[in-house]
């Protein structure tokens, strides 16, 4: 429990810092694996999505930490920004999943018979992971935007003058 506004401010800062670290560090660690980029090659995209699919989990945990910090500290603007970020993440994951599905068809089509079951199995695993991450992102977005709306409603001025406890001047 937060004892004072000053303490609340410091705890919120620490929460944001930790959340950002959890989001940024795994992504920065994964980037070198993508070098050099071969974005025009379906096989490379297929392998790279498979390779990086596991790296999305920790940043999502970091995003949750940022959301929780913003919600507990009552930072409505940040909460809204994080909600929008979660929507963008969900959209990116949806595009990646769709692209991965097309790439799978191409890789499967060019693979020798002995390799095909392995390609299919690996693809199902990756698609499952991406699907779960997508759902989690949508849940985050709904939670953040829902809390923002509720925050706005509770912060709205009282409908009648004087109802807030202050005398009308």
């Amino acid at each position: 429990m937060v004892a004072s506004p000053v303490l609340e401010k410091h705890v919120a800062r620490a929460g944001y810092a930790a959340g950002l670290l959890i989001v940024i560090i795994p992504l920065a660690d994964s980037l070198p694996a993508a070098y050099p980029l071969h974005l025009g090659v379906a096989q490379w995209r297929f392998g790279m999505v498979g390779l990086l699919s596991g790296a999305f989990m920790t940043p999502l945990l970091g995003l949750f930490m940022l959301l929780a910090t913003a919600a507990l500290a009552g930072h409505q603007r940040r909460l809204r920004a994080l909600g929008v970020t979660a929507i963008v993440v969900a959209a990116v994951l949806a595009i990646i999943s769709l692209s991965f599905l097309f790439d799978y068809l191409q890789v499967h089509g060019t693979a020798v018979n002995a390799v095909r079951p392995g390609v299919t199995g690996a693809s199902i695993k990756v698609l499952f992971k991406l699907g779960v991450f997508l759902i989690v992102s949508v849940v985050y977005a709904l939670a953040a935007l829902g809390l923002t709306r509720r925050g706005h409603e509770s912060a709205a001025p009282p409908p009648l003058v004087g109802q807030s406890g202050r005398s009308a001047t």
Binding site: W44, F46, L98, A111, A122
Partner: protein, 203 residues
Amino acid sequence: MKGRLLAAAAVVALAWTTQAEAQTTLDFEGIAGDCSGTAVSNGYGGLDWSNFFVCANDAEYIGADCYVSGSACAYNGYGTSALTSTVGTFTFNSAYFKSWFSDNTFFEPYDLTLKGWLGGNVVYSQTIALTGSMQLFQFNWAGIDKLEYDVPNSGQWFGMDDMTINGPTTVTPEPMTVALLGTGLFGLAGLRLRRRKRDAVAD
């Protein structure tokens, strides 16, 4: 100031994405002086080698044509599968291959399957028909971290020379990619048409 920083970041990002790898042809020269089983050491050509050995200066044993350039070529040890890998990724462009020994016969043809791996998944695969003579095979497998040379049965040796890595690959639009792009453009065009119609009705 902010604009300059953004421009610098854009230049760095562009350089990072467009920096070309250096094309290398691995001829396995200078690793061994004979054909008595010297392994290709890790780091040769920037790659790690598993179960690869060099046969040099013994044209009678391995067949003179195995030496595409110089007087050395690589082969798989014990007649079993072999691996080439790296910490990052590399492009496998081409290599010369031949059958050295199969079914207790020298230079007997057999099929060798090559698999290109990335992040624990097979992303490329191709079966090539080896004959008793060196042949050049093109692959152009971009961005793999492991290359597996899979012999169908143990006791099958192959020779390999002039392996080209990290060369350019020509990317041709694949039908699926074109279909996806086309669907997206079609959708965008549809949305624009719908908006125009709505605007016309509103006016």
